[in-house]
Amino acid sequence: MRFILKRLGFYVLAAWAALTLNFFLPRLMPGDPATAIFARFRGQLRPEAMQALREAFGLTDQPLVAQYLTYLGHVLRGDFGVSVAYFPSPVSSIIGTGLIWTIFLAGTAVIVSFAIGTLLGVAAAWWRNGWMDKLLPPALALLGAFPYFWLAMVALYVLGFQLGWFPLGHAYGDDVTPGLNAEFLADVLRHAALPIGTVVLATLGGWMLSMRNTMVAVLGSDYVNLARAKGLPPARVVLRYAARNALLPSVTGFGMALGFVLGGSLLTEIIFSYPGQGYLLVQAVRSQDYPLMQGIFLVITLAVLGANWLVDIAYLWLDPRTREAS
């Protein structure tokens, strides 16, 4: 219990750090941030938009500390300001629509990749020097060396464009009605296959290698030796004694890798015009919509922190040693 609370405290701290970074970023620009931004938009925005922008950044004439507190107050109320490109829509509503798709895409990809990669790692370690151990790691390493979005481009071209096996973009077709019906869900899966597949392929190698290395170390431990000496069937030795323990460091690394994979999947979304945060982010960058950019960054960060915390809770369940009241 204390473990969970301690971790929560850490994530709150990290969230605060992200918020603070976000606050200072506009002030990074050379010169007075207010005039710098406004100079860019002069003539393009109506006075109300300029005012909204000002407020969103807390770029008032008040001292820095006051601006900071106002900003924090806004954020804690879920008010990320007003978008410049989609004026006057508030940033939070624009983000809201895309968040689900990003979570669906990245979440599914990460879980699938972790599951398959971990199993492959267990197999490679158990059958040391077999083809799985010798061929797969370099092959997957090569796959993982390609930028995610490049793999997406190739996949889209070959499997979508040339072969026509998969749709060329978006989350679902125009001919289906959104809702909890089988037709819609099937269409969503069809559209998600390539994006998820790309991210899975790109990240598979990493999980496999780390699991394999941990397994090799665990297979040499005393308790595995005893399990073998006890005459237990090999399946039980591999799964309940070796893999179950090797999983623990992997899960620890899982949380850290989440943010990294999410970054890559954002870029993948762009290629597939997937209506998630990545797509939104690139539009925001192109149109220099700073409130939207920062809002997306915050939301993504909070999502990753939340996911990390969930992973910590899962770890609690996996490792009996953490369950003790310390």
Partner: protein, 321 residues
Amino acid sequence: MPEPILSVRDLCVDYISAAGPVRALDRVSLDLDPGEVVGVAGESGCGKSTMAQAILRILPPPAVISGGQVLFEGRDLLALSEPELRRLRWERIAMVFQSAMDALNPVLTVGEQIADTLRAHGAAPSSSAARARAADLLEMVGIHRNRLGSFPHQLSGGMRQRVGIAIALALDPALIILDEPTTALDVIVEREILEEIQGLQRKLGFAVMFITHDLTRMLQFSNRVAVFYAAKLVEVAPAGELRSSARHPYTQGLLRAFPSVHGGDVELSSIPGSPPSLRDPPRGCRFHPRCDKAIDVCREREPGLVQLGPRHAAACHLLTG
């Protein structure tokens, strides 16, 4: 004379490395009678643990058994297939590891780790039967049965060692190998556990191979003692006879280094020097560089085992002619 239950004959074990093989066990022969307690003594690296693990064939790479036989109840363990080995392991020969406290799976309860042994060998008709028997085994080693659902980290070192013993007893084996069973425990717990094992041994009648570097303890608890040095067997004798009339200079040196069982003001001394590197052992008798009685032939030829009594043999040139 009963047939020995275990007969190790000229066993050789090598560790393969890029720089060539290192012989960790060199033509070692040892017999064990049913129900007998044989202690195996020697300094670290002399080959005692290697022999124990070689018998069960659980030595990890880069170990290779390069010669000899291990006859157990008439069958050569070195000729068995993998499935046959798996059946034999634990059902007939079990082992308690050095620091069994680290040999327990951290994510399974101790009850589970006893029960899965039973289930794997078909010794329990159902999981509830397995659990019941696991509880009995815990009580047999002095742990309350409500600890069945505890995880290893929740138990003390001594209790975890007892769990290791319970696991070893699970299938009623004919031979139990104890590899430094109490090295990592404090003296009081150590004595308790050894007495526990002794009681169980007398009750259930299994043979014991007791490996330790603590000669005093070994003499207390063994029927016979075998002394190893630098991958070779140098002396073997009944415990009392070894204590009173050890014939190999190394054994004599060892005895002088350990406190006498009966107390008294015996001056302790250690053997000068240190054990040789197994990669490049001395020519002739391996002990000669540290032996104060070495003669010329000791530097030339390896001594063979000389029979000194019905159950007493030693490998020393001073004992021949």
